[in-house]
Symmetry: C2
Subunit: 188 residues, 2 copies
């Protein structure tokens, strides 16, 4: 039971650093200090280990996003809360954020991409929901939920990408700038 968590922890550390394909199960179990049958007792395959990891970390992440994405009539405020939540997640769970991002952009027929797709879709739907609700107040948003949700998440990930490269600190000012730029562009 504790070994199970340890295996997930070490798998996360290794996968996020060098990639799912490049890391063997041997490496994972050695990092924990157990043997392969232990891993295969808890997870029925390497793929199963990845899925369990996505359930544990991705589930927690979606909860946070969902909480932040409750639209209450003010689009800017809602978007700021969402950005704040994402930044917080990237800061407190850097390894998972990095891994998840790599998986989203992984080749379409790779195990990694296929595993992350449901998680990725849930994020997209949550954000689309925000823009759909906001469209009731702002007519000119209508019919563009999909592109706006993708574009907004893209901007968030650009900032987090800079953070992951040690090129940017995710301050409150960056939260404001991200939303402001999304809403009003680079001028003004």
């Amino acid at each position: 039971m504790d070994n199970r968590q340890e295996l997930l922890d070490q798998a996360l550390a290794l996968f996020s650093q060098r990639g799912y394909d490049a890391v063997g199960v041997r490496e994972v179990v050695e990092a924990v200090g157990v043997t392969k049958p232990t891993l295969y007792h808890y997870f029925d395959s390497k793929r199963g280990l990845l899925h369990a990891l996505l359930r544990r970390e991705g589930g927690a992440m979606l909860e946070q996003i969902l909480r932040a994405a409750a639209y209450q009539g003010d689009l800017v405020l809602t978007l700021e809360k969402i950005v704040q939540a994402y930044f917080q997640l990237a800061k407190t769970n850097t390894n998972f954020y990095r891994m998840q991002l790599a998986m989203v952009f992984a080749p379409p027929e790779s195990e990694a991409n296929q595993a992350v797709r449901p998680f990725s879709n849930e994020q997209q739907e949550i954000l689309e929901g925000v823009f759909t609700q906001a469209a009731e107040d702002h007519g000119n948003l209508r019919g563009r939920h999909r592109r706006y949700a993708a574009g907004f998440l893209g901007q968030i990930n650009v900032m987090i990408g800079l953070y992951l490269n040690d090129s940017l600190e995710l301050t409150d000012e960056v939260v404001y700038l991200t939303v402001h730029q999304f809403m009003h562009g680079i001028f003004s």
Copy 2:
């Protein structure tokens, strides 16, 4: 001579579809119909094959971007030309664009990411150059080249990402929308 190109072609197809790590050299040579020593005659390792691929395809891509990024006094026009060039590249060389994108987001210690970094940096520098030059005409851009270049490329890649998922066609209207949104936000 011809086999060399064939090997690069098939490697590109396979890497873009399933990822560098997941594809063995055996698969590549079988796809071409040759044997391993042939591959190792032209490239001294699997890593060398990847580097040669990046030189061939990435070099051509950078040429196109550089050509489109010549700033001539009109920022909007220049950005539109850049977006157009990127969309064209994504459409005519979908496999390489997909592979390159996956490598950019691959884990930092993976071979794929380390190989793509110089190429990625050149793109970033080209775009930064545009914003640096534009800052002479638009003072309020000054000191933000890096973020703007990254953000702009991020928006481009969001659109291309939708295209790669069959969710969006890269029309001239999308070129306009991408630049317009970057400059003025989602309103107006």
